[in-house]
Symmetry: C2
Subunit: 385 residues, 2 copies
């Protein structure tokens, strides 16, 4: 932590704590976005993004664009589906609702498959739902940041290829890429939408979208023109291809400093992608065991549907987030309050991603678990529970 000013440890489900080298990249001196130095950095960053997704397919295409993760939804909704076509949203919380709204903004006919809070649809249920209509695309939130529910991306993708092979498989990986296993080519996904500030460990401000050759082809063979300018695949595709070939190109100015930071963190991550997933699983198992020992129930009720980069836990009856979060803060730890409106006052969220997991010297997770235990005891005592 030497290079950073003293601060409380940010353990929410994004943004997360940064590695010193990543933050140093943020203050890179001014560069032209079309000068050889930056063009090389951006090109390498695109190639590293392929490695992050364990993809070697020459037809797959990463996009890195100035924006929040949300912008990736617009890229999907304005390029990969046309007005009146059907979209099936496997809804596991807040972000399923919002992705659905985005798709509707661009004219898609959206069907939500909604499960009770904390659960995910079974493959049998998804199969039934897929058979109701011809769906242009299906979306699933890999990890819903509001609930910590993990979707079965591999299983759903296999199912789609079997029962509705033309349907595009779209994954919202904002809270999963970098902490949950994703094998983009092997699982035959069509788009994974993510952002820089969660398990990727870069400051917020980059929308990152990985697309398949099939998705690019769908965007090129639309019956009607794409319905966004800034989120247009046609506008960005030649830019991304040129930069990756180390040729300057212009559509809109890339966020040069953020691209440097992304390059730094992806260089670290891609040194051992499977090892990174294993580390996140190991630390998650430890957190889940400690939370159970404290007598707390997770929002995600099925063990196989629990995220590895965050834990959303119900507070003991009688306690709300404002009873517990200040006790954590007093101990230098920041967790997040609830986000899912139906249960927001009943739970808190602990993000365990990135350097807090991969750099054991920081001791962030053990410290947070100890702080949680003390803050809960203090809150219960204060309420006479």
């Amino acid at each position: 932590m030497s290079a950073q000013a003293p601060h409380n440890t940010l353990l929410i489900p994004g943004p997360i704590e940064f590695d010193d080298a990543v933050l140093q990249s943020m203050s890179h001196y001014a560069e032209s976005h079309v000068a050889p130095g930056f063009v090389k950095t951006f090109g390498e960053t695109l190639t590293l993004t392929r490695k992050l997704f364990q993809s070697t397919s020459p037809t797959a295409q990463p996009f890195i664009i100035a924006g929040s993760g949300t912008l990736g939804w617009d890229l999907v909704a304005s390029n990969l589906i046309e007005r009146g076509e059907n979209a099936l949203v496997l809804n596991t919380g807040y972000f399923g609702d919002s992705f659905g709204q985005c798709l509707e903004t661009y004219g898609a006919n959206v069907t939500h498959f909604t499960t009770p809070i904390g659960e995910r649809a079974s493959l049998e249920e998804v199969e039934q739902a897929l058979k109701q209509k011809p769906y242009k695309l299906i979306t699933l939130t890999h990890v819903d940041t509001s609930t910590g529910v993990l979707s079965d991306v591999k299983g759903v993708a296999q199912l789609v290829r079997r029962v509705s092979p033309e349907t595009l498989v779209i994954v919202d990986g904002v809270c999963s890429v970098g902490s949950e296993e994703i094998a983009f080519d092997e699982w035959d996904l069509d788009a994974v939408v993510t952002a820089s500030q969660k398990a990727i460990g870069c400051p917020p401000g980059l929308s990152i979208v990985m697309t398949s050759g099939r998705a690019i082809q769908v965007s090129k063979t639309r019956k009607t023109p794409a319905t966004s300018y800034y989120a247009s695949i046609a506008n960005w595709l030649p830019i991304m291809v040129n930069y990756e070939n180390h040729k300057p190109s212009y559509f809109a100015t890339p966020p040069t400093q953020l691209v440097h930071a992304l390059h730094t963190t992806l260089t670290q991550i891609t040194a051992d992608v499977p090892g990174r997933f294993a580390q996140h699983t190991q630390v998650s198992d430890k957190v889940k065991a400690a939370v159970a020992e404290l007598g707390l129930k997770q929002i995600a009720s099925q063990p196989e549907a629990q995220a590895h980069g965050m834990t959303a836990m119900y507070l003991p009856e009688g306690l709300t987030p404002p009873d517990v979060l200040p006790g954590l803060l007093k101990r230098g730890v920041i967790f997040a309050a609830g986000l899912h409106k139906a249960i927001a006052t009943k739970y808190i969220r602990f993000g365990h991603m990135g350097v807090s997991v991969t750099d054991p010297k920081r001791n962030d997770v053990d410290h947070a678990l100890a702080a949680l235990k003390e803050a809960l005891a203090e809150a219960k005592q204060a309420k006479g529970l």
Copy 2:
């Protein structure tokens, strides 16, 4: 320059050189986007944005969103005009063409008023054009980065209010905000679209849009829903209002580090907004005089239509940018090649904005002018001219 690694001086029309304090803000430690510290910083940054535009109107509304300047065009095109309505684009170069394409993407019926390269429409011509059709909005590029032509924003806005008072006046200020005078309320503008990386002096990655109460009202009383999700005024308006009132709010994660950097630079700029414009005018006059002395003609032919933050100059007959730019680079100075396709091989661009203008200790402009003189002489000699 003490805090930055040694590097060539970036004097293109954006991105530009950064103040050390701005770059330091880029490596701010991790913060939650809804924690009190960041909420205060973002709220203050919105208020500083009003000052930058010399606006005190309570109905005017600034937006600061993760994205490139281009995203601001989508915000205008998807919220302030509806399918089939008319837009008049006063086209002074590359960026007029592109803004027109963006408006057409969202269904606007676009008329370009095009002038010869280096010129701008006279007010009489604009008046004639405005009388041909009922226009929902008119756009003008305050400074076209491709040509250095300065539009008469104040004059056009007055004219519109007189002859077509319902028409919204939309200014592309990507290459003007921070170096050219803009009095948002007094000139009665409806939207100014800009970005962080030019005369504002912040790294790229922020789309900044100032809107009038009239524009917000138009967005609220559309006959059809707005046609973007990420660029939707309705989605962002409550977020901006809440943050400025120091209340956390969520639609998409703001780019926390870039917002800190914007806060730092706007604090510097707004200490004396009129003084900043005067400084840019003074340095621009000096550059233009030196360029004339070198026998070079500007692309912007009329003196009143020449930008104060950049100078685009034709090279002597027989020279192209690759003959001159390496000679500048050898002397530690980076200028930009031509961008306007019709004349791209014939001219170069010199950006004089931000700290290179306001911090005389840097000596950037004098050094660049001396380097230009030497590089030109060298290039002429090499070509036997």
